[in-house]
Every structure is written in C-alpha cells, then in structure tokens.
C-alpha cells in the first residue's frame, strides 16, 4: 500500500470519527433542549381550565398521577367526554396538540397552555406539574 493511500485512509477514519462524535453531540444537545420525559408521579389539587372561542371547561383533580400538562388534559377529556388529538413528532418524541373538543389549530390560532399564568415553552407532555398548579389551555393567537 502506498504512503498516499495510507494517509487517505487515516483521513477517512478521522473524518468518520468527527462525524460520529458530531452526530452524538447534536443528539444530546437536542435532547437537552427539548426536555426530558416526565416520570409518572402523584400530585394533588390541580386545576385545569380549557378555553375555546365561545366555551370553556373547568376540571379540578384532587389527586392524580397524571402529572404533565398533556396527561392532565387527557384525564379531563375522559371525564367530560370530549376529544383531544395530538401528533407525536420525532425526533423530539414530543406531543403537539392539534385539536381539543373538535376545535382544530388553524388561521394563526393554536392550542397553547399556561401553568400558573406562565406561557408553556416546552411540549405539554414534557411539562411537569406540582401540587396546586393551575393549567390553562387557550385557543388563541400567540401572545408575545
């Protein structure tokens, strides 16, 4: 094998290593930014308010194991018998809520959530809830 060929092989191996390290690094960074999955745990005294354009639904959970914003919405939908549709987006492995009670996202309005009045900046299934939290789902234009 000529010296040039050996050098080229080393360059190829080095480049391949850089690519693999880069991909792994970006995967970790992406996972860090999108937030970690929340393990199920018991929480108390949660309130959820869902506000459509001309209707609203309020639920109070004295005790539940649905300790994320999304799971609490699903629990409320089971109690009141309305539908929630969401899409799981990869590679984020995160849920995006498409419709609540037959009201679908569109025309610039989206289902957005707030916890204790603070706008939800991560996926609703990654947002952990704690005792006494107030969750609001609003179908509205983004408020910023």
């Amino acid at each position: 094998m000529k010296l040039g060929e050996i050098k080229e092989r080393y360059k190829a191996i080095l480049f391949g290593t850089v690519v693999v390290i880069g991909v792994i690094g970006l995967a970790y960074l992406g996972n860090y930014i999108t937030g970690q999955p929340v393990e199920q745990g018991q929480v108390r005294n949660l309130q959820i308010s869902i506000v459509g354009e001309d209707w609203s639904i309020d639920c109070t959970m004295e005790e539940t194991t649905n300790n994320t914003v999304y799971r609490l919405l699903l629990e409320c939908s089971e109690i009141y018998g309305f539908e929630v549709e969401g899409t799981v987006w990869q590679p984020y492995n995160a849920v995006f809520v498409d419709s609540v009670n037959d009201v679908e996202n569109g025309d610039g309005k989206w289902w957005q959530y707030y916890v204790n009045g603070k706008y939800g900046e991560i996926s609703s299934d990654r947002k952990q809830l704690f005792d006494g939290d107030l969750v609001e789902w609003r179908f509205e234009l983004p408020r910023f």
């Binding site: 000529k2 970006l26 989206w110």
Partner: protein
C-alpha cells in the same frame, strides 16, 4: 484545491444522475416526514449544484419539493393548513433549497472523491443548513406568529431544537449520500453500464484518492 480539467459531460448521464438525486430527495423526505427536520432534500440540492451545475441546481430542488409536497399533502401528512399558508411556506422552503443549490454551484469543479472534498461539502452543507433554517424561520414568523419584535424573537427561540436536529440530519446525510453520488459522478457504475459524468485524465488521479475506479 485541484480542479478537474477534463470534464466530458453527457447530457443523458446528467439527466439520469439528476433523476437519481430527485428520487433520493423525494423518498427521503416522504419517509422521514414525521422525523421533523430530518430530510434528504438539502443534500441533493447541494450535490446538484456541486456536481451538475446551475441548471440542475434549479431543477433538482424544485422537482424534489414539488413531487414530495404533492405526495405529503395528498397523503394528508401535511396537517390542515389553508392553501395560503401552504403556498407561503412552500415559497420559503423551496427558495431555501434553491439557495442551497446555488451555494453548491460555488463548489463545482472543486469536488473529487477524496476525504478532503467530502469534508468540504459537508462543512459547506452545515453552513447552508443554518442559512436555510434562518430563512425558513422568517417564513414561520410571517405566517404563524404576530409581526412584532416579540414574535420574531420567539420564532428564533423555537428554532433552536429544529436547527440542532437539522444540523444532525445534514451531518448524517451529506457524508453518506455525498460520498455515494460523488463516487458515481466520478466513476460511474460499470456493472450497470453507467459511465461517469466527470472524467479526469489519468495523471490527475493520484494514489491519494479514496474512490479509485
């Protein structure tokens, strides 16, 4: 960077090569649609400009996006957007990929099948990915968010995870797809009777090349 001095181009081969790029772009985009920002359109747009030149840098991204958008929206993967939003978003994504193809043309004649060239294409592709993401984020802001400074800011905050995964996609697909197409461009596929598009004189090829014919 060495230039390829003797490039004999066969239009038929070029068209076949362009069709192969379009096929990879369409299939990759449709199959990976639910894996947000993992796509093969960027790499084929870049390679079209780099290996085939300006006309194909226009044709390949446009054809790939037209066919894949048609498939995605016909199959119902594209959500429930109105036609105005679909056309508006298409403007930003299509022109974004056209720009990537244009960036690719700046490398035309400078890329041969060696690690250094593939690394160069990958590096340029990573920069093109970021430019594409910034451009399409402007479109996202225009169509989905309030036209305020706050809305503009939140659009770029929300860009972060998308950009990270898009960079990851480019870092995976550009070396992989790029090596395969650069190899075929240079050496053809003798077993399928496909001749190379770019031919170099024998003295241009030295022993350092990773993809000898």
């Amino acid at each position: 960077m060495r230039r390829i001095p003797d490039v004999r181009v066969k239009d038929f081969n070029k068209m076949g090569f362009a069709l192969a790029l379009i096929l990879v772009g369409v299939v990759g985009r449709v199959l990976l649609y639910k894996y947000s920002n993992f796509e093969t359109v960027l790499v084929v747009s870049l390679l079209a400009g780099t290996l085939l030149g300006k006309v194909y840098a226009l044709i390949v991204p446009l054809a790939t996006m037209a066919i894949s958008d048609l498939a995605i929206y016909t199959l119902g993967f594209g959500g429930h957007y109105g036609i105005g939003i679909i056309i508006g978003l298409a403007f930003f994504t299509w022109t974004g990929f056209l720009f990537v193809g244009f960036i690719g043309t700046r490398l035309k004649g400078k890329v041969i099948c060696i690690t250094k060239s593939i690394a160069l294409v990958t590096g340029v592709g990573m920069i093109a990915t970021l430019i594409f993401d910034v451009w399409t984020t402007v479109g996202y802001w225009l169509f989905f968010l309030p036209h305020t400074a706050g809305g503009f800011g939140i659009a770029f905050v929300q860009l972060a995870p998308f950009a990270v995964y898009h960079l990851m996609s480019s870092l995976m697909f550009i070396p992989l797809v790029g090596t395969i197409f650069i190899y075929i461009h240079e050496n053809g596929i003798p077993s399928l009777n496909i001749s190379p598009i770019a031919r170099k004189s024998d003295d241009e090829r030295d022993s350092t090349e990773a993809c000898p014919a």
